[in-house]
């Protein structure tokens, strides 16, 4: 039996690619069209601030699926194609230039875009953001060994970028408006550990301050900090957060609220339209609230959920959030969103850059952050999923194996 339906996906991203591939993996035989604004196939973003910025990997190697694999799966990818509107009455996606593509079901995986720095001089050549492959290639082109790189924002992108630019021979200076690093994501003691770690690797970090303006004659030459200090720099990278690309949904009348509002099956307020990834504001029963996640795991697994939901194969999506970051020789991983904990347990030695800190609420792990210790973190995730009561003494004792706690 042939299937004459057409499923369209707006956004050739990690989430979009997983929607498309899931449709095929689940046996959908109709037409699958994946629309991408960029000239690239869905690519991995983690390398953008690391291996790709270092120039250690090619663009092709960051693709989740090579063109041949997409061809084989009969997924029609249209690159350099910007969707400008969704006509829900006609069930058509409007493309820039006024082409229209009819859909039976539609997925929106448009991700997020960078928040721009609203200061004088932010338009000067030499001031960059880091979100897309294009951004990474442009920064790489502009990096000058031995010069100063100004990083605006002491979050994940800023810190990864500071580490990579240091490796490339730059002097990295990070300015952060708040009083600690990654303040929205991690706990104060891990912020402090990260600060010492970066300082120890030669990164200059200024907290409680910001760049007031960038100056230069036709290109970036210096940053003027709040307070008046001038720092000469040849490039600046701004990483101050992202904004979900939800406008196309809002203009089509779909419910939006910090992203596109979806249910636990990635369904929007229109039964034929789905959304997943950074753009989707979804409920998480494990956390007891709605949230938007900007993570690798969420883009993948919510994309898979959306693909299944488009085929009416309902599968609830709610996972313990999991995140990682690589900076210098450190792999940091985090599970959960630790908040309101009443006890902490640290396993390993922070001074040796290898440990995990568990955050407990009522004797149960509520979240954890590991430095160079992903294994114990994974056991922690299992303990968390099992809702198991554990003691600080046992978790902190390296002679008690994590497996034993899981079985005990």
């Amino acid at each position: 039996m042939s299937d004459d339906r057409t499923f369209v996906i707006i956004g050739a991203s990690q989430a979009g690619g997983w929607v498309a591939n899931t449709l095929r993996n689940e046996g959908f035989e109709g037409k699958v069209i994946l629309l991408g604004e960029e000239p690239y196939l869905p690519y991995e973003r983690p390398p953008l601030s690391k291996a790709a910025l270092l120039g250690e990997v090619t663009v092709d190697s960051t693709y989740f699926w090579q063109q041949e694999a997409l061809d084989e799966a009969n997924i029609e990818v249209r690159l350099n194609t910007k969707a400008t509107a969704i006509d829900r009455e006609a069930k058509e996606v409007v493309i820039e230039g006024d082409d229209r593509i009819a859909y039976d079901k539609l997925a929106i995986t448009t991700g997020a875009r960078v928040r721009e720095l609203p200061i004088d001089g932010a338009q000067l050549p030499g001031v960059f953001y880091l979100r897309t492959m294009e951004d990474t290639l442009a920064i790489r082109e502009a990096v000058k060994e031995g010069s100063t790189a100004m990083i605006v924002g002491g979050g994940w992108i800023g810190l990864e970028c500071a580490a990579t630019l240091t490796k490339l021979g730059c002097k990295s200076v990070v300015v952060e408006a708040l009083d600690r690093l990654c303040a929205r994501a991690i706990t104060p003691e891990i912020s402090d550990w990260l600060l010492q770690f970066h300082l120890g690797n030669g990164v200059d970090i200024r907290l409680n301050t910001g760049v007031e303006k960038f100056e230069g004659d036709g290109k970036l030459e210096r940053a003027v900090l709040a307070g008046g200090e001038n720092i000469d720099c040849s490039i600046a990278v701004v990483g101050i957060g992202v904004i979900p690309n939800a406008e196309i949904a809002a203009e089509a009348g779909l419910d939006t609220d910090d992203g596109i509002v979806v249910d636990d099956h990635a369904r929007t307020s229109d039964p034929d339209i789905f959304a997943a990834g950074d753009v989707a504001n979804h409920p998480n029963d494990l956390l007891g609230r709605r949230l938007r996640l900007e993570s690798y795991e969420n883009a993948q697994n919510q994309g898979i959920t959306a693909g299944k939901a488009m085929l009416d194969k309902a599968e609830s999506y709610a996972e313990i959030p999991w995140f990682w970051s690589d900076q210098f020789d450190v792999n940091l991983q985090m599970i959960g969103v630790p908040e309101n904990w009443d006890e902490t347990a640290t396993r390993g030695d922070p001074a040796k850059n290898e440990f995990v800190t568990f955050y407990l609420k009522n004797g149960v792990i509520d979240g954890a952050i590991s430095i160079n210790n992903p294994r114990d973190l994974r056991f922690g995730k299992r303990l968390m999923q099992a809702n198991k009561t554990v003691s600080v003494a046992d978790l902190s004792n390296p002679d008690i194996k994590m497996q034993a706690l899981l079985k005990g």
Binding site: F64, Y296, E297, N301, P374, R375, R378
Partner: protein
């Protein structure tokens, strides 16, 4: 079919139950697993990205990659969890006394 050559790579008590270690045969990194007292071997590097599975997490008869959480069946090498979509190569294992041997094509 090329011939298989067995190499002594570890002692049985080098690998606790539900655990994994990395060994090398020549240049080839191989992960050796202990699943309920039985030993298995797969290629040591995740098929998704260049990372050693011996740093991963053994649960039952699955190995989970420490980096992106891809899962493989230890006994068959089958990729069961994304992002990995390519199966892992497996190797025959023999145990004689307390020595573990892994068979690698010559």
């Amino acid at each position: 079919m090329s011939e298989i050559e067995y190499h002594a790579v570890a002692k049985t008590d080098d690998i606790p139950e539900e655990d994994v270690i990395a060994v090398f045969v020549g240049e080839e990194e191989i992960a050796i697993y202990n699943v309920e007292g039985e030993f298995f071997a797969t290629h040591g590097i995740c098929t998704h990205e260049d990372v050693g599975l011996a740093d991963g997490f053994v649960e039952g008869d699955l190995i989970e990659c420490p980096l992106h959480s891809a899962c493989f069946e230890i006994k068959t090498g089958k990729a069961v969890n994304p992002p990995a979509e390519v199966d892992l190569k497996t190797y025959p294992v023999k145990v004689e006394g307390d020595t573990i041997y892994v068979g690698v094509e010559k």
